[in-house]
Symmetry: C2
Subunit: 219 residues, 2 copies
DNA sequence: GTCTATACATGGATAGAC
DNA sequence: GTCTATCCATGTATAGAC
């Protein structure tokens, strides 16, 4: 009914094709959202029945849009990874004083990762890394590696951060943040070994800036 | 035959019971080793058939020793976690100069983690953290938390490492090492974004020691 | 106590009506 | 294109012979 209102009059072949295409996109989207929730909740072992139920379509419909479970999964992961590729360092961020920049960057990084979808994605990527090594590779090359590279470049170009091995320092910073999320959010450390984000960030910045000062001094 | 040689003469009830108990222990051990390999390779989704085959026993035998799959899994994980509880800081280690101590500690930590069983365990713990939160909790409380606590204590008691928040600094150090293993060994970063352990360790020690000097100076 | 054979449920994937 | 009903393999768990 509402459909007739949106698209009245002409019923030529082209319009029909277009309408079908629109519908197909909607259904496809509907499936992907349901499948995403199901996979992120239950891992790759989520059943196609469960996905169909969560998506609100029949199981056969899944197979008409995606040939097999693995294809659906891959398509989803591709899209999800793409979604989390962040804007990176905006010019305004880079123009901040060093300390403010590092704090802001750490906060942004933690905020992005402290999210149900992101945390579930990490669990899935790590948990299925034996079965889907390509997924791990994609995760590293799309999300981890660029983040480290940008941070390393920032360190390299910043005179206040005169480290001998910017790449390694970037890994240390990034790694301590990622592991904080893994421990606190994925493994439940927020309950069994709680620590506020700010405490971690403060110490991380202290350590990096102090080290940078000393490093500059000792040259 | 050899059994008769080891345990000759008397065949009273007690001896028989003992012999049975010995055998049972052996079978149990045999099952656990096969199950361990299978679970670590294939995750919790490993089938009982596969475990029976790998263990070299019939499926029913699994069920006579462990009531159900989940019990077998739990028993295994308990034992494996216990196995990896390391000696910790030996007195001779603590007597080293600060820099040598930190380097040695980092090397030991990475060496312990860079091991097929340990890596597989981490993947399993993280991957199944939604299904088995108790396993995550056990992992944190037995392996992670004590390691961080000991390192924090060392920092606190060492005059050369005058940090304001030893606990947070310990997390940063520990976290960057753990995440290095996750990225390089679990996610395949050793191929796609290679970096030697020594580079990471060197930079980590540089950063910590430089920061400590500066921190002491600025008091 | 251990094996073979089997029961029962669930998984992925497909056939056929509409 | 979408649904219902079904196929077939595999999974956990158990029964019964030895």
């Amino acid at each position: 009914m509402t459909k007739a209102l949106r698209k009245p009059a002409t019923n030529n072949a082209l319009n029909v094709a277009h309408e079908i295409s629109d519908r197909a996109r909607d259904k496809r989207e509907q499936i992907m959202q349901g499948a995403l929730r199901t996979f992120l909740s239950n891992g790759y072992s989520a059943s196609m029945d469960a996905i169909a139920a969560e998506s609100g379509v029949a199981k056969q419909t899944l197979y008409s849009y995606f040939g097999a479970k693995e294809e659906l999964f891959s398509a989803l992961m591709d899209r999800l990874l793409e979604h989390f590729v962040h804007a990176g360092m905006t010019p305004e961020l880079r123009s901040l004083p060093t300390q403010a920049f590092l704090r802001k960057l750490a906060q942004i990084t933690l905020s992005q990762m402290d999210d149900w979808e992101y945390v579930s994605l990490m669990r899935l990527v790590i948990g299925e890394s034996a079965r889907f090594p390509e997924l791990s590779e994609l995760y590293l090359s799309r999300l981890v590696s660029p983040g480290i590279a940008k941070l390393a470049q920032y360190i390299r170009e910043n005179d206040e951060l005169a480290f001998g091995d910017p790449e390694a320092v970037a890994r240390i910073m990034h790694g301590s943040l990622i592991n904080f999320i893994i421990a606190q959010e994925i493994l439940g450390g927020k309950h069994t070994m709680p620590m506020s984000r700010d405490r971690l960030i403060n110490s991380l910045i202290d350590v990096i800036l102090f080290a940078a000062q000393q490093s500059a001094q000792s040259r």
